[in-house]
């Protein structure tokens, strides 16, 4: 929670969408703020036997059992190394139950207008990881890959 307050660009723009920027290794990803319920520090994860490999297990979030997935494992990156900056982002999509996503670090909140977002090129979408993208946002600091969060958390039997 405190991380949201840390960020600078809090002013709400009348147009455009707000994204929370998180980092995984060298890359920056943006998550639409409307899906985000909460951001919590790393807590004890209870392993679930024979679950999908990218599910680290479940955590106790104020009395609710929330499944937690590793974004790194989902994207076939190096396994997570938990640090002080590691956070679990609790996603609460409409009409679905909450789910946690482990990220290396939460950076800031940005506001992107339509023009600042490039839609993904359809011809390239055969790449497995591309299906999780909803576009690329251009900021002063560089490019942010915008995640289509619903396709990230909803398993398509691709494995």
């Amino acid at each position: 929670m405190e991380d949201i307050n840390d960020v600078q660009n809090l002013e709400v723009a009348s147009e455009g969408k707000q994204y929370i920027v998180v980092s995984l290794g060298e890359e920056q990803y943006g998550i639409d703020i409307k899906y985000i319920d909460n951001i919590v520090r790393m807590s004890r994860i209870t392993r679930i036997p024979s679950a999908q490999n990218y599910f680290k297990g479940v955590i106790n979030l104020r009395g609710e059992v929330i499944p937690v997935m590793s974004l790194r494992l989902k994207f076939d990156l190096e396994p997570d190394e938990y640090s002080n900056a590691t956070r679990i982002i609790i996603i609460k999509p409409e009409s679905q139950s909450a789910i946690g996503i482990i990220v290396d670090e939460v950076k800031e909140v940005i506001t992107l207008s339509e023009e600042e977002i490039d839609k993904p090129d359809a011809s390239e979408s055969n790449d497995v990881n591309k299906q999780y993208l909803s576009g690329v946002g251009k900021t002063e600091e560089g490019l942010v890959t915008l995640l289509s969060i619903t396709s990230v958390i909803n398993e398509k039997e691709s494995v």
Partner: protein, 708 residues
């Protein structure tokens, strides 16, 4: 004016009244002379009629009205209760239940008129009383009365309605579409109390057949009851005047409706129109020569009433599927809860004053402990009370069964009686909702296959009347429901032959199977031993569905049978779904919970006692060979450093089968709250959920049933 907010209350109360009707009709069949029962039925029918009328469910109202009429006759002793009548009444009851089901789903009573039931009701009443009934009893007297009034008080107030130029355009459009334009003045009875409600019903009825263009006073005022005993409308429709008049007058407490063609003669020329109510048709061709420039204006105007109508309909639609799942709670239970909450607040205040209060440390420490203990007892009680609120007596499910058995009685031509005990046994609401169908299935089974025909029973020297028992009772943390009959019992040979026939089992397997294992075959999908399929049961989709449903509720079912003596099905259900007793165990560094209900014993087994049979590990426990399951391998737990001298084995059972689960360490028994894991994770069936331990850690719950 919107009655949808009363829908839930209506549904609840209707259910209650229907249940009363059903119960009392059962009694009436046995004791046709019982005046109390007759009065009770009359009252229930009367209340139903009133409620249905208020809600605007006209068909339902009409049917109950006729039922009420019949009882009125019985009450005044002009006719007697005949078995034939009871049958018709039961059919009427079913029809009412049909309406209710339709209302539950769509917030509308549907279009089934049930004319045949109404007709038979009336013809019975006619025959018995000797006088001709008024046919369509609901509408007839009213129609007569209003016809009389029509002549005297029928003032044609609608003629004074003023039409703006803007509205006139819509008139032209309607004429082009061959719609009739009527003026209507509706008079309410002087005694009418809910004027706005009645007006609303009139509007509702009218909107089904056409469009109300204008009302005097305007719609808002009518809704706010700002009108005297009448109101006037301009109305577009394709229906005939007669039909509209009838529709309006079928709303109760409407004295009469005066209707005639309406002529929009321009701004303030209304009084002229007063002379024209006799004209049959509105002057349709008059619209034609009007300048064409009017057409776009008409189009502009048209969407307005349409939009208005849509806006009116929208809230009704949104309310449709939202008949909530509610629990009726005894006010005493709520009082207890309230008390506990206030105690909780007191406990909190105690702690607050403790932390801010005096500094004498020793004193505050003992006080602190006291407060904690107090808090503990309060929360425990609170928990218990909340659980109790969720509990519903099983009565609400089983009270429809006597009626069902009665019907089966007639249908199957077998004499039988249902004996029920323990209807006040309480179960969690979620379980109650689900248990009805399986029980019904079992009862039908007993009635159809279990009990022999009357002749056979006499030949066997049994009581001619077959008996079916439904017993519910609490047994520790479970509730048992037993469905028992004194019929023929299950013929094991028959199952065996059938199983061999179908290739379900081979000869060798059959030879090795126990009676119990044969009976278990009955719970397999599509396995029916009934020789002929009746519409009561026997399609082979019975017991397996029952079993799945009950297991889905966390319960179990077993069957005992004695050839020639009868059979019984015992359903065992957990008291509540959310909280169970479990044994906490450790495997490696991980903690798991095993539901206590599936655990038989816990054994210490030396390594030497583990034998290998067909490459599987087994132990011989007091003469029974039990397969061992290494949970650490099954769950991919990293083995701990700790090397025990012997194995700790938790013996779990499912029916007659057992399995030994090897665990590293026992922690102890604990009451745990089951939390779902959610559907994101594809975990094995082994894990049925998770629970949060006192220290905030999560432990997974092992579904021992899947291991056996």
């Amino acid at each position: 004016m919107d009655v949808s907010q009363y829908l839930e209350i209506f549904i609840d109360e209707t259910k209650e009244h229907l249940q009363t009707l059903s119960d009392q009709l059962m009694i009436l069949e046995q004791e046709p002379e019982n005046m109390d029962t007759i009065n009770e039925i009359f009252r229930a029918a009367h209340s139903l009629k009133g409620m249905a009328g208020t809600m605007g469910f006209k068909r339902m109202q009409r049917l109950t009205h006729d039922m009420e009429n019949v009882f009125q006759e019985i009450r005044s002793e002009t006719m007697k209760v005949e078995p034939e009548l009871v049958d018709v009444l039961f059919r009427g009851l079913d029809a009412l239940e049909g309406y209710l089901a339709e209302i539950l789903e769509t917030a509308n009573e549907g279009t089934e008129e049930n004319e045949d039931i109404i007709n038979s009701l009336n013809s019975i009443a006619e025959k018995a009383t000797g006088k001709s009934s008024d046919g369509d009893a609901a509408a007839a007297p009213k129609a007569e009365a209003s016809a009389a009034v029509n002549a005297s008080a029928g003032e044609i107030k609608y003629d004074t309605i003023q039409i703006t130029d803007f509205e006139k355009n819509t008139f032209d459009k309607a004429k082009n579409e061959n719609q009739n334009i009527y003026g209507i003045t509706v008079y309410l009875q002087e005694t009418c109390i809910l004027k706005a409600a009645r007006a609303f019903l009139v509007f509702k009825a009218l909107e089904e057949m056409g469009e109300v263009i204008k009302a005097v006073p305007d719609v808002q005022d009518i809704e706010d009851e700002k009108f005297e005993m009448d109101f006037s409308l301009v109305y577009f429709t394709k229906e005939s005047m007669e039909k509209i008049k009838n529709a309006i007058e079928s709303v109760s407490e409407i004295r009469e409706a005066v209707i005639g063609p309406f002529e929009a003669n321009g701004s303030a020329a209304a009084p002229q129109a007063a002379a024209k109510p006799e004209e049959e048709k509105p002057d349709a061709p008059a619209a034609a020569p009007k300048p064409a420039g009017n057409a776009p204006a008409a189009q502009q105007a048209a969407p307005k009433p349409a939009a208005k109508q849509a806006a009116k309909k929208a809230p009704a639609k949104a309310a449709k599927p939202t008949v909530g799942r509610t629990v009726r709670v005894d006010i005493e239970k709520l009082d207890v809860l309230m008390n506990l909450v206030s105690e909780l607040i007191i406990a909190k205040n105690g702690l607050v004053s403790m932390s801010s209060g005096d500094e004498t440390e020793t004193k505050s420490e003992t006080g602190f402990n006291e407060q904690i203990e107090y808090l503990e007892s309060v929360t425990t009680n609170l928990h218990e009370s909340v659980m109790k609120v969720r509990m519903v007596p099983i009565e609400s499910v089983v009270n429809r069964f006597p009626r069902m058995i009665r019907d089966l009685n007639k249908k199957l031509g077998k004499k039988m009686e249902l004996h029920m005990t323990g209807e006040d046994t309480e179960l969690d609401r979620t379980v109650i909702d689900e248990i009805g169908d399986p029980l019904q299935h079992l009862l039908r089974n007993s009635a159809d296959h279990g009990l022999e025909s009357n002749e056979e029973r006499i030949a066997l020297g049994k009581d001619e009347v077959g008996h079916i028992y439904l017993d519910a009772y609490q047994d520790g943390n479970n509730v048992n429901i037993e469905v028992r009959d004194d019929g023929a019992g299950i013929n094991i040979e028959k199952i065996k032959n059938k199983a061999l026939d179908r290739g379900t089992v081979t000869e060798e397997q059959a030879a090795a199977m126990s009676d119990k294992e044969f009976i278990d075959l009955l719970f397999r999908p599509s396995f029916s031993t009934a020789e002929k399929i009746t519409d009561v049961s026997g399609r082979g989709v019975g017991l397996d569905v029952v079993k799945t449903k009950i297991e889905g509720l966390g319960g179990s079912i077993e069957c005992k049978t004695e050839l020639g003596e009868g059979s019984s099905f015992i359903i065992r259900l957990p008291l509540t779904l959310a909280i169970i007793q479990a044994l906490m165990v450790e495997i490696g560094a991980e903690k798991y919970a095993i539901p206590l209900s599936s655990i038989q014993t816990i054994e210490d087994v030396a390594f030497g006692e583990v034998k290998q049979v067909q490459t599987k590990e087994v132990i011989n426990l007091r003469g029974t060979v039990i397969p061992l399951i290494r949970l650490d391998k099954l769950l991919d737990v990293e083995p701990g450093e700790f090397k025990p001298e012997s194995l700790t084995v938790v013996i779990v059972k499912k029916g007659d089968k057992q399995a030994g689960l090897v665990v590293d360490n026992l922690i102890g028994q604990q009451e745990i709250v089951i939390k779902p894991i959610g559907d994101y994770i594809r975990c094995s069936k082994l894990i049925s959920g998770a629970t949060i331990l006192g220290n905030g850690e999560i432990a997974l719950i092992l579904e021992a049933n899947t291991l056996v």
